[in-house]
Symmetry: C2
Subunit: 210 residues, 2 copies
Amino acid sequence: MKRVPEKMVERLLKYLELVKEKMSNKEHFVFSHELAERAGVSAVQVRRDLMEFDIEGTPQKGYPVEEFFSQVCGHVKCNMKTRLALVGVGNLGKAILLYFLKRRPNLKIVAAFDSDDQKTDRIYCGYKIYHISELASVAKKENINVGIITVPAEAAQETADMLVKAGIKGIVNFAPQTIKVPSDVFVEQIDITLSIEKTAYFAQKMRNRR
Amino acid sequence: MKRVPEKMVERLLKYLELVKEKMSNKEHFVFSHELAERAGVSAVQVRRDLMEFDIEGTPQKGYPVEEFFSQVCGHVKCNMKTRLALVGVGNLGKAILLYFLKRRPNLKIVAAFDSDDQKTDRIYCGYKIYHISELASVAKKENINVGIITVPAEAAQETADMLVKAGIKGIVNFAPQTIKVPSDVFVEQIDITLSIEKTAYFAQKMRNRR
């Protein structure tokens, strides 16, 4: 398996969630239809995804969870520790920091940054807030893998440039602004406002259909 | 224009953001390449999207912003007031409430709900927290269009069922759990943890390529 498509990685991560639940409930097998339901896809899609692995399941019992876990988790590195930096401690940034309190131990925000001196060199919800000028040195010292951008739209590109310069290869961008990065950096765009506006548009359409 | 695809609605909403900025800066025209950059698509895609509208632009000057705004906003109802209900006032719910403070006036969380008596009948960040049993009556009284789900995964389906029963036709689901709804309800799934895990996976791949 050379290059795994983005959507498949998402599905594998979702399957693993369920498999981990089964394991902690001391269940030994999982059916493809259960995995399908968890990921919101068809059972055919699940079986197609799992053909890439060497997990022996049966139609009667399903897939053995231990083997499923070791193979799929091994592939997507689900036990990898991700050390996150967040840039931009406004309402959105604070919201994300708050959300990550008590998160799963594999995902940890280890540093937050802002350009406003009033906000820096302080502790917020247990997070240390650094000045943005310290990004490169802290990223290196703290071994940060992924950056989260929560600055206003107009500062998003500049922030992305700084993260790239600090050697970070993965960015989750919550700013409502497309960012440009080199081809060896992965960007995931999450635009909450756009998602809600889109939902409102389709909700309105649905209502008018009545 | 009968049925507009989801991705096109997203692009039109992004174009409108830029057009509104131009208008407030007293600029009169916008180029397709500027719209393309804002939405992270090609200029060809922009021109294809705009063929559906009757906006007269020229290669020299671009599209007139006033006409662009009135036609495209008219179509996606960008001035529509969206009245949101949020269900689940844990860390994630609080994070979303915090994020929506000082949001654009067209998007407003008008009520928040929780099943925990300890949290209800209180004000949090200016939002009234109701008990979930009041959902149907408050949704009707407050004319709520869109529901936001921020409950734990295991309560997501039950919450979706309640929103549907209350007549809400659009749901933004932040719970890491696929939900089933009738075909006349639109669901947008935002899984922040999954997005970060996926980004971490690809960041790792990129790093290994060096």
